[in-house]
């Protein structure tokens, strides 16, 4: 089959790989029809995630048609068109039973600190992902969800990660009616977090980034007040001035370890890898939130350590809430939002391309070329 292969930092190519097969009685084999490139794939692409092996197939946001199921799969049958949450979850362990499908204990041999994720290095379990013509999907009765007839497939593929992650970012913010919410990062997840902040009753939503085309999109789509951090001398002072000197009620870090905005963090976190990525967005979030406020983290960092003002977390009484999105738990509500027209996921898609063009897709997304917000690959011609 054709698949996108990682060949080293900043190198992807489409090549022939052996077909995946059923390896467990609860597996399904899915013929992929859509597969996004995610902002967190860029951490892999840039060589920032330990145990990212050459030859691995990335892709944790995909949907497709069930081709074959294992003998213990009861809810799916060949021909079902399913969206596949990025979490691999057993549905039976202590964590899955609590709705923490992103923290399953039966899906990742290589690490306990993260659950199993499709195509996201061996640190996340060593599963090949969906940027391929076919993918093996474990625990097929738990995560995969049959796409409703009325739903556009481009909307469906966005429900595998982007929408739930943005929604959970807002949910973890514990937003109360009238709250001021500052979202750091106007990538797809940040944009969706800002959009969802309104659903929880935010009184004011501010988005911070430096890419004007993304800020313009966020201004219209969310809608939100938008600011370029390069035009702001001091982020904490700026947010305090915007909030009657108190600070924001909720700050959301939707950037993670690839953040721009600090030469020091860029040097230590990205160039020298002495930190687990550049933590400037989290630094700003902690220092911009009000005393007793909440910082919600959905930006991805590596597993080692970062320089952040932890003393301020204590002294300000900040609550930090963070997790990989529990897609399975959130899907029913998010499908309602899409049906009601409150969320328009596919509006974020700016680039549609074939699997053969994966090298260009990654580069365009990584280098922020051509107004790219969200690229989607269409293996099998999208059929």
């Amino acid at each position: 089959m054709l698949a996108a292969e990682y060949r080293g930092p900043y190198r992807m190519r489409a090549g022939r790989k052996r077909m995946p097969r059923i390896e467990h009685p609860r597996d399904a084999l899915v013929r992929v029809t859509r597969s996004c490139i995610c902002g967190s794939d860029l951490h892999l692409y840039r060589g920032m995630v330990p145990d990212t092996r050459v030859g691995m197939v990335f892709g944790h946001e995909f949907c497709g048609i069930v081709e074959e199921v294992g003998p213990e799969v009861e809810k799916l049958k060949p021909g079902d068109h399913v969206l596949v949450p990025f979490n691999i979850a057993c549905g039976q362990c202590h964590f899955c039973k609590q709705g923490l499908f992103g923290n399953c204990h039966e899906a990742n041999a290589e690490a306990t600190a993260v659950g199993g994720i499709f195509g996201y290095s061996h640190t996340a379990g060593g599963y090949d992902g969906g940027q391929a013509e076919y993918a093996r999907v474990p625990y097929a009765d738990v995560g995969p969800t049959v796409i409703p007839d009325w739903m556009d497939l481009d909307d469906a593929v966005m429900l595998t990660d982007v929408v739930p992650t943005g929604y959970q970012a807002a949910e973890m913010g514990g937003i109360q009616k009238g709250d001021t919410v500052v979202v750091f990062g106007a990538g797809p997840v940040g944009i969706m977090a800002a959009r969802c902040a309104w659903l929880f009753g935010a009184g004011r939503v501010i988005v911070i980034d430096h890419l004007h085309y993304r800020l313009d999109f966020a201004r219209r789509y969310c809608p939100a007040e938008v600011y370029d951090f390069r035009e702001i001398e001091d982020m904490a002072v700026f947010v305090k001035k915007q909030t009657d000197s108190l600070g924001a009620d909720v700050c959301i870090d939707a950037v993670g370890g690839d953040a721009a905005g600090s030469a020091l963090h860029t040097l230590f976190g990205k160039a020298m890898k002495l930190e687990a990525g550049s933590a400037i967005a989290l630094h700003w979030a902690i220092n911009s939130v009000k005393k007793g406020g909440i910082v919600s983290i959905v930006g991805v960092y590596g597993p080692t350590g970062n320089m952040i003002p932890i003393g301020n977390v204590l002294n300000k009484g900040i609550t930090i809430r963070a997790n990989q999105a529990s897609v399975k738990r959130l899907l029913p509500r998010l499908i309602e939002h899409v049906q009601a027209g409150r969320i328009d996921p596919k509006a974020l898609i700016t680039h549609r391309m074939s699997l053969e063009d994966v090298s260009d897709g990654y580069h365009i997304f990584s280098a922020k070329l051509d107004g790219c917000i969200k690229p989607v690959l269409y293996p099998n011609g999208g059929q």
Binding site: R7, Y10, R11, M12, E23, H24, R26, D27, P50, D51, T52, R53, V54, G55, V57, Q92, C93, K97, Q98, G99, L100, H105, E106, A107, A109, E110, A111, T112, G116, H122, G125, G126, Y127, E171, Q176, G178, D179, T180, W198, L199, F200, G201, G203, P223, E225, T243, D244, G247, A248, K290, T304, T319, R321, R342, D360, H363, I364, S366, A367, L369
Partner: protein
């Protein structure tokens, strides 16, 4: 409840936003998820396990796990020098920096192994294409020209220095 900005003018009127407040939940403060104690089976790993996968390839296991999970990924098993380093890294826990630094080191070695693997199969990797040079040319010609010029200049200086050193040694 008064919030930080209730007295300040807003650029976006929430009343104009489709769906405003439909998911507002005053109980969502501040701990997520709400712990459902009624569904707990007691402490420890006593849940009914799914059937166990028997991996056909080598799967490294974190020493923080007491057992292999019921399903495992079987992509790209460890091999070569990078595989030896990965196996060694898994002697340390996820809490130990050596674990991660050794894995990052193995990743870099693995890239070189990947190039040799290609060559061994008679394939010369088209690295500029893999790095998206076509897209760069289409969307950022100036940037591409600048990068090529920098690489050419650095290469020229390196070659000149090596030649000079060669003459000095002679």
């Amino acid at each position: 409840m008064a919030t930080s900005t209730t007295r300040l003018p807003r650029a976006v009127d929430p009343n104009t936003v489709n769906g405003w407040g439909v998911d507002a939940d005053p109980r969502n403060d501040p701990t997520y998820p709400f712990r459902d104690r009624s569904r707990e089976d007691g402490p420890g790993m006593a849940w009914q396990r799914p059937p166990l996968q028997e991996p056909r390839v080598e799967v490294l296991r974190s020493i923080e796990h007491s057992r292999l999970p019921a399903v495992v990924g079987t992509s790209t098993p460890p091999k070569g020098l990078s595989g030896m380093i990965r196996r060694a890294a898994f002697r340390y826990s996820e809490s130990d920096w050596r674990h991660w630094l050794m894995l990052l080191g193995a990743d870099r070695i693995n890239v070189v192994e990947g190039i040799f693997e290609d060559l061994a199969r008679g394939r010369i990797p088209n690295i500029p294409a893999e790095m998206g040079a076509r897209a760069e040319w289409r969307h950022n010609k100036l940037g591409l020209v600048r990068k090529v010029a920098i690489v050419a200049a650095v290469s020229a200086v390196a070659v000149a220095l090596l030649r000079r050193r060669g003459r000095d040694d002679w």
